[in-house]
């Protein structure tokens, strides 16, 4: 398989197709902010009187990956037209994010075998799809495959897997792009810089949203991501902010903006094509349930619903394992009813249930029928988007204590969880614990003008 690919294909041999694609996508999908970002992402970092480190700040759904992918394709094609070979190294935090970036590049027209994803697992190798599994020193890979990797215009890998890419691109100059920098601690960034220094990067750039989930660590000094680290030192560095989002319904976007206000950052504007995005607009057929409360919760015209679970009792907390079984049951019930109420092409809707606690995820997963949805932690869901999201925030206690959800560094869990939803967001939480406890992020949710509030006990039966 590899031999066939290696001998039959020259790299970037579809320049016309890529250029046509770029032009079409730029006209159709990119706004003013994104076009500016694409332009800056192509400049070299070492400038006569300053160092250019482009930082593209893209909140959820604003198309930062699209912007990055188009910038890469544009730069590579312009270099190829001038007879020069360009090489990009894209570093993402997770393997899922790597695959997402690869898909975006393919969407722009880059062939699967021109944007190679490097993984540590050799069992995942699929040359046709452009996936290569290898150890950091590429040991065990045939020389031909190693050359093929080194010749690749784009390599995508995780931050911790940078050694693979460095070995592949040995002695060749590169452009280095880091995606989702909110999870990249300053220490990790400098450790990567050390590895990349021999490749003399023409440009270093950062894409991400500082309000996404932070670096996971026990240490305060390791928490600032690279962007927040640079800024106090940055003498007025200013990022390129992407302000139009292409994911969420207007009402959900309002809730997100209320939260963004707490962080003193700019508000997002829903693009026209998503502002009225309801489940029915996403072509789901709506079959209202009999129960009036459920009908209100699931109504496509109520994109943002808060369900009070305070009257269902209290959480069950053992050490760091926290779960709330009744709330879990309620989440499962709503998911099951939603899959009955919405159908698209004869298939039921599968809502995504999110929760910050692993114990609650386990509890929900054990009760949730497979065809009625899936449950993951909010951490796991970062970077993904779903038509309908149900969030179970678990905490319910008389002292209004909400654990790490109130920790200054981890409040982003609320923001990230809510911003995964495209058309419908149902949030289960104890009003008494979260709202009366004065927790800012949750007060922001409550303040959202279009929010519908429901008493969970009405659904007990």
């Amino acid at each position: 398989m590899f031999r066939e690919l290696h001998h039959s294909e020259k790299r970037l041999n579809n320049l016309d197709e890529i250029e046509n694609n770029i032009q079409q996508k730029e006209e159709e999908f990119l706004n003013k902010d994104q076009l500016k970002a694409v332009e800056i992402l192509q400049k070299e970092s070492v400038q006569p009187n300053h160092f250019l480190l482009p930082i593209v700040e893209g909140p959820p759904g604003t198309g930062k990956t699209t912007t990055g992918a188009i910038a890469i394709a544009k730069k590579l094609s312009s270099l190829a037209r001038r007879g020069r070979k360009g090489r990009y190294l894209v570093l993402c935090f997770t393997h899922a994010a790597c695959l997402q970036f690869k898909k975006k590049l393919e969407w722009v027209g880059v062939k699967k075998t021109d944007a190679l994803y490097l993984t540590p697992y050799s069992r995942d190798t699929d040359f046709k799809r452009g996936i290569v599994g290898a150890p950091p020193d590429l040991a065990g890979l045939p020389v031909g495959v190693q050359r093929w990797l080194g010749d690749s215009p784009i390599l995508i890998t995780t931050l911790l897997g940078i050694s693979r890419a460095i070995t592949s691109f040995w002695n060749k100059r590169i452009h280095l792009m880091v995606d989702e920098y909110s999870q990249v601690s300053a220490a990790d960034f400098f450790a990567c810089i050390y590895k990349a220094k021999n490749l003399n990067p023409y440009q270093l750039s950062l894409l991400g949203d500082p309000l996404q989930l932070p670096v996971v660590t026990t240490q305060t000094h390791l928490r600032p991501n690279i962007c927040t680290f640079i800024n106090p030192h940055g003498r007025g560095t200013s990022a390129i902010g992407l302000k139009t989002q292409y994911r969420m319904h207007r009402d959900i976007c309002d809730a997100i903006n209320e939260m963004r206000r707490i962080f003193h950052t700019f508000a997002l504007r829903p693009a026209d094509r998503v502002a009225d995005r309801t489940l029915t607009k996403l072509n789901y057929k709506w079959n209202p349930p009999q129960d009036p409360t459920l009908r209100t919760i699931l109504d496509p015209d109520n994109p943002l619903v808060l369900v009070d679970t305070g009257n269902l009792g209290f959480e069950d907390s053992r050490g760091r394992e926290v779960k709330f079984e009744r709330e879990a049951k309620l989440a499962v019930k709503i998911a099951t009813e939603a899959s009955r109420a919405y159908q698209k092409n004869g298939k039921p809707l599968r809502p995504q249930i999110l929760t910050p606690y692993t114990a609650q995820r386990n509890c929900i997963s054990s009760m949730l029928p497979k065809e009625c949805g899936e449950c993951t932690t909010i951490y796991k869901a970062q970077g993904a988007e779903y038509p309908m999201v149900i969030i179970s925030f678990v905490r319910s206690n008389p002292s209004r204590f909400i654990g790490f959800l109130d920790d200054g560094q981890l409040t982003e869990q609320v923001y990230v969880g809510c911003s995964r939803a495209q058309a419908k967001l149902v949030i289960l939480l104890s009003f008494h614990t979260f709202f009366e406890g004065g927790h800012q992020m949750f007060r922001a949710l409550e303040r959202t003008p279009s929010v519908i509030k429901i008493q969970g006990e009405n659904l007990r039966s």
């Binding site: 300053h50 250019l52 000094h221 951490y379």
Partner: protein, 502 residues
């Protein structure tokens, strides 16, 4: 003392070793910043500190393993570094196979087997040659002495941990210590510390290897009988100690007052470096004493550290500011490792198996079927349910045969889970014939942080970046890495291309 350090105690009186409080062990506190306990020392770390406290600082804070190296390896064949692990694995396998009658005890047959096995471990041709360089004399000597067959009571790579008291002439330190015995022979009542180091004609064991063997003996002789699982239960106070090089075998004396002194000295350095209140002073003191003595020309002939006397480059000029920032990272990664690895080790020592199970750290199981590299085990349905819910990347675990104090521990992974139990892949080691095993999940936590070894990798990269640079003005001006560092840490202008200030 070989490293030339003064032998008086750095801090007097020596403070008590801090063990984790109950709430830390039970996971009832939010883990952040400085751990309220001292590290769980290993035999390797104590030996390293005894050799040179700066080696310990490099190990804990800069991710540099800095082994004590052979002069010959250092001078002639640096590629032979790192061959120790396959050497240990293969010598154990050969002894096991000859003992079981699976392999003929002749030189050509053994050599052929070694090549075959080395290939299956994925060693490159050069690595196999390097390995043979050590293993050929070892095989020859073992055949001559007639000691190449393991008996049914010989065990390899036995992990031992215990609370040990070291009493020097001036002070006493009471702490836990973890180590791995290369070979334990119950019939012969001896332990063997095997090494690739050592010269053919030397009448003494390689530097500090006798000390290392003595420390391992201190651990097993301090163990409570109740902590030793039945196949290994006995009194080890009279066990004979040997250091085995490829060329010969040396006996080590058990009673050695100098070793007691040395251990108290080494542990007191570790204790002071790990305490945030004394850390800066201690590191400064260690550097102050080490650096003037350790010029390249006068470097200890067996020291493997390259960076103590490395040349400072002119660029980046903001190096002091880089150091001021990075030094917090080194400490933070060290503390993070303490929260993850050392706390886990203390939990294994202090908590009962029921408490460990409750915390999702340890699950007990019964072995129903085993073949080389694969085990089938059955376990409690509720435990199995928890195991079933683990995601693929969380299924890496440690297989423990025996107890956390005394047992054989090997890397493992859950391959599949069925109605009654699960199937495990494990890195082969000779196991005793007992039917009970434990599965350990050291990184069980709400947030799946990154593994401990990555902390070491990061420390090493940051330390190398701090030391790296260029001398020529022109090269520095066009070098993106130098320019980036100057822009972030120095006074150069940094732009991010937009108008929005994050």
């Amino acid at each position: 003392m070989s490293s030339g350090f003064p032998s008086e105690f750095p801090w007097a009186p020596i403070r008590r070793w801090r063990f984790p409080p109950e709430k830390v062990l039970r996971g009832n506190i939010f883990e952040a910043d400085e751990p309220p306990f001292d590290p769980f020392p290993t035999v390797t770390l104590v030996v390293k500190t005894a050799f040179c406290p700066l080696a310990m600082v490099h190990d804990l804070f800069h991710g540099l393993s800095c082994p004590i190296v052979d002069e010959e390896t250092e001078a002639i064949a640096r590629s032979r570094r790192g061959i120790g692990k396959p050497f240990h694995l293969l010598t154990a396998l050969i002894k096991y196979k000859v003992g079981e009658g699976e392999l003929e005890a002749t030189y050509p047959a053994i050599l052929q087997e070694i090549r075959k096995e080395a290939k299956s471990y994925g060693l490159k041709l050069q690595e196999v040659r390097d390995l043979e360089y050590y293993i050929r004399p070892w095989v020859r000597n073992r055949l001559i002495e007639g000691e190449i067959a393991a008996n049914k009571d010989t065990y390899f790579e036995v992990q031992v941990a215990s609370r040990v008291r070291f009493r020097s002439r001036e002070a006493t330190i009471n702490t836990y210590l973890l180590g791995k015995i290369d070979e334990l022979d119950l019939q012969g009542n001896w332990i063997i510390e095997r090494t690739t180091r050592g010269e053919p004609t030397s009448s003494n064991p390689p530097l500090y290897k006798d000390y290392q063997t003595w420390l391992l003996w201190k651990i097993i002789s301090s163990l409570n009988q109740s902590d030793i699982p039945s196949p290994w239960r006995r009194n080890y106070s009279n066990t004979r100690l040997f250091v085995e090089t490829p060329h010969s075998r040396y006996e080590v004396q058990r009673q050695n007052k100098d070793f007691e002194d040395l251990t108290v000295w080494a542990l007191s350095w570790i204790r002071d470096v790990s305490d945030p209140n004394t850390r800066s002073q201690t590191i400064a003191q260690i550097y102050g004493e080490a650096i003037p003595q350790c010029k390249e020309q006068m470097k200890h002939r067996m020291c493997g550290i390259k960076l103590c006397y490395s040349k400072r480059r002119k660029y980046p000029m903001c190096r002091p500011i880089i150091h001021a920032n990075f030094r917090w990272y080194y400490s933070s990664f060290f503390q993070d490792t303490m929260w993850k690895r050392d706390k886990f080790l203390y939990q294994l020592m202090f908590l009962s198996s029921d408490e460990l199970r409750e915390l999702g750290i340890l699950y007990e199981c019964r072995i129903v079927d085993s073949k080389r590299g694969e085990l089938k085990v059955v376990m409690d349905p509720s435990d199995l349910d928890r195991v079933r819910r683990l995601e693929q990347e969380e299924r890496r675990c440690i297989l423990l045969i025996g107890s956390p104090h005394f047992g054989i521990r090997t890397n493992s992974r859950i391959i599949s889970v069925d109605d009654e139990g699960c199937t495990l892949w494990y890195e082969w080691k000779k196991m005793p014939s007992i039917s009970h095993a434990s599965i350990l999940f050291p990184e069980a936590s709400i947030f799946r942080g990154t593994p401990v070894f990555l902390n070491t990798l990061r420390q090493r990269r940051l330390f190398s970046l701090e030391r790296w640079g260029k001398d020529k003005d022109e090269a520095a001006e066009s070098d993106p890495t130098i320019q980036l560092l100057e822009a972030i840490f120095g006074g150069h202008k940094l732009e991010s291309g937009g108008s929005y200030v994050p």
